[in-house]
């Protein structure tokens, strides 16, 4: 498990690894490219490539090495079903985290969502999980705009796992109120995917910005 603390201090070598990774990507060998990015210390890109090849565990390792433990934990719990591994990531056993990142509001909310997903996977009752969705909803609708799309996506997923589609609607409505781009479009796509029906939204009252 690579330690983020000893990233390559030699920029020439890491640059060469990155070039090799780019060339492998051009040659359409994403796994080789991911291996080169990993050797060069570009963990997030390696994680993206592993995830695009649907290799959950290596992707989670790479995201955790890049410092994004929430993503790593979500991959494990939602796509792999490994609750224990996800909780191990959340508890900070596997990577070094820098201070300012962990204090951000979005990171804390994402952490709570992953925790909620783990609880749902373990069969916890809905009442214990819904407060987290309420908090996420407040953050989505709130004045400071949140540009991390995972907040909305993961909240919807957790609500879906609980089979509480009313909360799905509340979350999407909060996203629309908060001014997230194309939230209504995503909502209607979700409805058509889940129920095969069309979504009808009331006229939005004097909202500025691109709302579709």
């Amino acid at each position: 498990m690579p330690n983020t603390a000893d990233l390559l201090s030699d920029p020439i070598t890491s640059g060469l690894w990155e070039q090799a990774g780019l060339c492998y990507e051009e040659a359409r060998l994403p796994l080789e490219a991911a291996r080169c990015y990993r050797m060069g210390g570009a963990y997030r890109r390696a994680g993206d490539l592993y995830w695009s090849a649907r290799l959950t565990r290596p992707a989670a390792e790479m995201y955790a090495a890049a410092g994004d433990v929430e993503m790593a934990a979500w991959l494990l719990v939602h796509h792999d079903g490994d609750v224990a591994g996800a909780r191990a990531y959340l508890d900070g056993h596997h990577s070094v985290r820098s201070g300012p990142e962990s204090d951000s509001l979005v990171t804390a909310l994402l952490r709570q969502l992953v925790d909620a997903r783990c609880a749902v996977a373990e069969g916890a009752p809905a009442e214990s999980v819904l407060p987290v969705l309420d908090t996420a909803r407040l953050a989505l609708a709130g004045p400071p705009p949140i540009d991390d799309p995972r907040l909305e996506t993961w909240s919807v997923t957790v609500a879906e796992q609980l089979s509480r589609f009313d909360h799905v609607a509340l979350i999407y409505a909060a996203a629309i109120r908060g001014g997230h781009k194309r939230a209504a479009q995503r909502w209607s796509q979700w409805v058509s995917r889940r129920f095969g029906a069309a979504l009808v939204l009331p006229e939005l009252p004097a909202v500025t910005g691109a709302q579709t």
Partner: protein, 581 residues
């Protein structure tokens, strides 16, 4: 602002007096003179008077404190270059007489705690009303002959030093005058902090000739040399300021003073003024007023002195010597140990993720199967064969990168064309410098390491792989239409007809062959080079410039080979190859 007549305006430029004669600049110092006669009667001021704008007597300003007088002097000397400045003292008043523009004098005097401007006509000081022409000659006003004539030094002394308000600024240079017994502690602390330290012995002489009334000065009349011989330590630091804690600690050394040096424009130290003290004049102006030697200005605890160096600066680092018991032991090599045997280089199985087939080692029977394998394969375009005695090497720029079914697959570990079988490693592990030294694989020699021995191939004789099966071209007969052949033959025959007699024989063969068409080769003798960029890339790769070879491949749309070359380059330049593999 006061009103002025039409001859002068408030916003006009400040007139500068023309420079005085150099003979006038040498003023006698240290002597008290009586009141001078009229200014235009003395010969030394007559030329100045003739150069100055006509009919303007000097201006004398009255101050109530010497500090204010000093401030006025400082501001005035910054504004105009007048060398005939006189000071007078009358009980509690201080007078400064200098030639200046009246409005300039007014504005400066007002800013220095309320000075009053007077005209100095002959030896009478007449109050300036602020407007109108200068007053005419005549006895009225204050008689300056009743004043005591002072020198600049007296003014400085009466002006005194006052503690700096606020935090003192950072110093990058400081001088400490201290007795000799305190030197080693300061030097040790300063060297620990990384300062540059030099020291020398100095002798101090009293600065003011007589003791001022009412002040407490150290006994200046004692002629004991020990009391007035001190060590001057120069602390300097280039990049960072001197830590103020060190300076504060140095102030607590008995019989010492910490000063900041002030230099004149030529670079000589003119003034050492105490660390947290300031005079009414700014440092640089005070330094300019001192024409020779160095002054030390400090508070009453240390006193004010004139500095005389006894010897030159010596670096204080020379004071640091190891003790007598600090032995330096020689470490002579004891000679070669006869019973060490270096380990034998072996090939061991080693897991190497990411290694690919860069070359293939063939023997003679396998060489005969290469045409069967490569004919029709994309590798035939770029593969290169290097023939040897009983082994042959199949290369490609950027590596073969495919698992051919024949031969021994090799991977290049570098530096240069140095190959080992795929899935193997060297034991003991050799760093790149050792590999370069032992095997010397360069652009002319390729080395293949096998277990227990190695093979060297000469790359000068490399040829394209298709040479193995495509050397003899078929018989080529040129197919020309009959009309074109006839026309060409006619063109050829015309100059021949002019030279020959009519009726010369012609070669009339069934298939005319005009002479200027190219001959089909019977045998390709010199194998052609690869495409130019591939040859260049191969040369770069064999020389060891993998990055350039990789960029060439990438630019020509061969990403896989470029990736392989970049990876090889990264592996070779990686300082810690086992950390993350």
């Amino acid at each position: 602002m006061t009103l002025h007549g039409p001859a002068r305006s408030a916003g006009g430029p400040i007139e500068r007096l023309p420079p005085d004669d150099p003979s006038l600049s040498a003023q006698p110092a240290g002597s008290i003179q009586g009141s001078t006669p009229r200014p235009d009667a003395t010969p030394r001021s007559a030329p100045r008077k003739s150069q100055a704008p006509p009919a303007r007597p000097p201006v004398a300003v009255r101050f109530s404190t010497a500090a204010a007088a000093l401030r006025y002097l400082g501001a005035l000397t910054a504004a105009s270059a007048d060398t005939d400045v006189r000071f007078f003292r009358n009980a509690t008043e201080w007078w400064v007489q200098a030639s200046a523009e009246p409005d300039l004098a007014h504005s400066i005097a007002r800013s220095c705690s309320g000075g009053q401007v007077h005209w100095a006509v002959d030896h009478w000081f007449r109050r300036d009303r602020g407007f109108g022409p200068p007053p005419a000659h005549g006895p009225s006003g204050v008689d300056s002959r009743t004043f005591a004539r002072m020198e600049l030094l007296d003014l400085v002394r009466a002006g005194g030093l006052s503690p700096t308000s606020g935090r003192p600024g950072p110093l990058s240079e400081a001088m400490v005058l201290l007795p000799g017994f305190a030197l080693d502690a300061l030097v040790r602390r300063g060297l620990n902090l990384g300062l540059d330290i030099h020291y020398r012995t100095v002798r101090l002489h009293s600065l003011f000739p007589t003791a001022a009334p009412g002040t407490k000065t150290p006994s200046q009349t004692v002629a004991d040399p020990d009391l007035t011989t001190l060590v001057e330590v120069a602390l300097s630091s280039e990049r960072r300021p001197i830590p103020p804690a060190l300076l504060t600690a140095a102030t607590r050394i008995p019989l010492s003073v910490v000063c900041r040096p002030v230099r004149d424009p030529l670079g000589d130290t003119r003034l050492l003024i105490q660390y947290r003290m300031t005079a009414p004049l700014p440092d640089h102006q005070l330094a300019v007023l001192n024409r020779a030697g160095t002054w030390v200005l400090a508070d009453a605890a240390f006193g004010c002195w004139r500095l005389e160096p006894v010897n030159g600066y010596q670096p204080a680092a020379a004071l640091v010597v190891p003790t007598a018991s600090f032995a330096i032991l020689d470490q002579q090599p004891l000679g070669e140990y006869a019973d060490t045997t270096p380990p034998v280089l072996r090939l061991v199985p080693a897991r190497r993720p990411g290694q690919r087939v860069d070359a293939v080692l063939l023997d003679s029977t396998e060489l005969r199967t290469v045409p069967l394998l490569l004919a029709g394969h994309p590798l035939a375009e770029i593969a290169i064969i290097v023939e040897g005695a009983d082994h042959h090497l199949l290369l490609a720029p950027g590596g073969i990168l495919e698992d051919l079914a024949i031969g021994l697959s090799l991977t290049c570990i570098g530096p240069g064309p140095l190959y080992i079988p795929l899935g193997r490693g060297l034991s003991p592990h050799l760093p790149p410098a050792a590999r370069r030294n032992l095997f010397q694989a360069d652009s002319d020699h390729a080395i293949v390491i096998l277990d227990g021995h190695a093979l060297r191939f000469f790359l000068n004789g490399r040829r394209p792989a298709w040479y193995l099966w495509a050397t003899v071209p078929p018989q080529v007969s040129t197919q020309l239409p009959a009309g074109t052949a006839t026309a060409l033959r006619a063109l050829e025959q015309q100059p021949a007809e002019v030279a020959q007699r009519p009726g010369g024989e012609q070669g009339s063969s069934a298939v005319p062959q005009p002479s200027h068409l190219p001959e089909a080769p019977e045998q390709i003798e010199q194998p052609e080079q690869l495409d130019t960029w591939r040859a260049e890339a191969l040369n770069a790769e064999l020389t060891g410039d993998l990055r350039r070879a990789a960029q060439l491949h990438r630019r020509h749309n061969e990403p896989l080979r470029a990736a392989r070359l970049f990876e090889r380059a990264a592996r070779e330049s990686d300082p810690d190859p086992w950390a993350r593999s």
